[in-house]
Symmetry: C3
Subunit: 206 residues, 3 copies
């Protein structure tokens, strides 16, 4: 029986893949292109993390991620017209994925003995770098550099997770609190349109 975390991992991967496939379809990519962009969105963050940590990328140890992206692909092909109406559902899934990926990424680095600030960065990369890769593939400026708080939710959640850990809190409880922090930060940011300030350095003279 798959564990709860495995189910969440599947939900997150599915939602991330859908986000990549939808944006690829808006650019009129073919099925192959859409699949690759969906896959990159879903596994890109974890792959960059694993290259930096010098371990085998997770997706190379389990075909689940490829299969899950294929399912997301069929889903968009079959229900493309209805996917728009499910925006709220996908936003929820995407946020679950973001929270889970952040905690998984943090835990992996921390378990390898890296200090907390590396773990926070690895959590954020796991959660947010797939979306950057997606936007590079579709030739757009990465959304997370300009929209509401997204990767900052990973940083905050990672920080809370670490504070729980050094307070000798139970490991599983710490993970849950860290993940919920990412989730709530992101939900609040979207609900109240909380954005970071735009940097006004010398935009008049780029």
């Amino acid at each position: 029986m798959p564990s709860f975390v495995t189910i969440l991992d599947f939900v997150g991967t599915f939602a991330f893949a859908i986000s990549g496939i939808r944006l690829a379809s808006a650019k009129r990519f073919d099925w192959f292109g859409a699949y690759v962009v969906g896959l990159a969105t879903a596994i890109g963050g974890g792959t960059i993390r694993d290259l930096l940590l010098d371990v085998t990328p997770t997706w190379m140890t389990n075909p689940m991620y490829l299969i899950c992206t294929a399912l997301a692909m069929f889903f968009v092909i079959l229900f493309g017209k209805y996917v728009i109406r499910l925006n709220h559902t996908f936003f929820l899934f995407d946020t679950i994925g973001l929270a889970l990926f952040t905690i998984v990424g943090f835990s992996k680095a921390y378990a390898l003995g890296y200090p907390f600030w590396i773990a926070i960065i690895m959590g954020s990369i796991t959660g947010a770098a797939g979306g950057v890769l997606r936007d590079i593939f579709i030739n757009e400026i990465p959304l997370i550099f300009r929209k509401e708080i997204y990767a900052m939710a990973c940083v905050i959640g990672g920080l809370v997770y670490w504070i729980c850990l050094v307070s000798d809190m139970d490991s599983v409880l710490s993970q849950i609190i860290g993940g919920i922090t990412v989730f709530i930060t992101r939900i609040l940011a979207v609900k109240y349109k909380i954005t970071l300030p735009i940097l006004k350095g010398d935009s008049e003279n780029p």
Copy 2:
């Protein structure tokens, strides 16, 4: 005396480098920029593969790839005007490169003990990821996500190669059959303009 495979490798590298250099020249890159884009097109796929497999990138073990790209560069500088007329020749070279790179990439992963689906992906990355890198460098949407069947030819060839291997066919014969499959799939796709369907998810609302 260089082996047949070494010659094919040189031909493929040369053709891939030419493809990068030509597109860079269309964007008015300088010599250095064109060389880098040519090199990235030729060795980019193999480098991404080797980073994922955690082995030393092939181009770092043999200066042949840098020299071959330099030759491609001089070729375009000297014969730029005539290169256009050689479109058919380069298409042939490019397809030979695609077939060879796919088989090399598959074999490398398979020899390291990875399962067939990883080997197929590594073959496809070796064949097609250099072109994606090239298109990112020249700031265009990657061509292979939208044009005729290209990376899919790598997937199909890899699959055929694997079927040959598990059928206890001779290793060299399997490689040849796999490579020819890539070659023919690509040739047929271009000749008959075979494309994958465009994904129509929600392009009206991107």
Copy 3:
């Protein structure tokens, strides 16, 4: 007491980060986006080098690079309007960074036993690849593929450094001569607007 090289490293990182942050601000990135682009500019080259050499990326061994980028960020936020007037100062800093990063990258590869041509490439990647990453993030064609001699200064400096080394010159002296070569090449290139030729392959038929 920090050594002279540590101070130069800080200066170079600061200047590279400023360059990324300024370009991000011109694209109206938020604080987070600008920080990430600044960081990628500063540490991107070294990270790609370390992934290729299969060693732990330098920035993961010392939080100095993250802190230095944060300082660059605060600097732009506070003194944004005046940063423009400091163009000459930043050009100087950026060139110091380029020279230092080139020598550091060359030395790292050479100390690991790689041949001189790999070391030259690693020096150039350390110096110039961060800027390529920056331009990909802000969705522009990489500047170094088209503007005055930049990465070529790294190649020339690396070559001179290597010639010094094989001439049995003192190691520190070789580094200084190599670094000064990068510095002067770049300064002269900008002062006299020295550019590499534009490649005219078949731009009329891209």
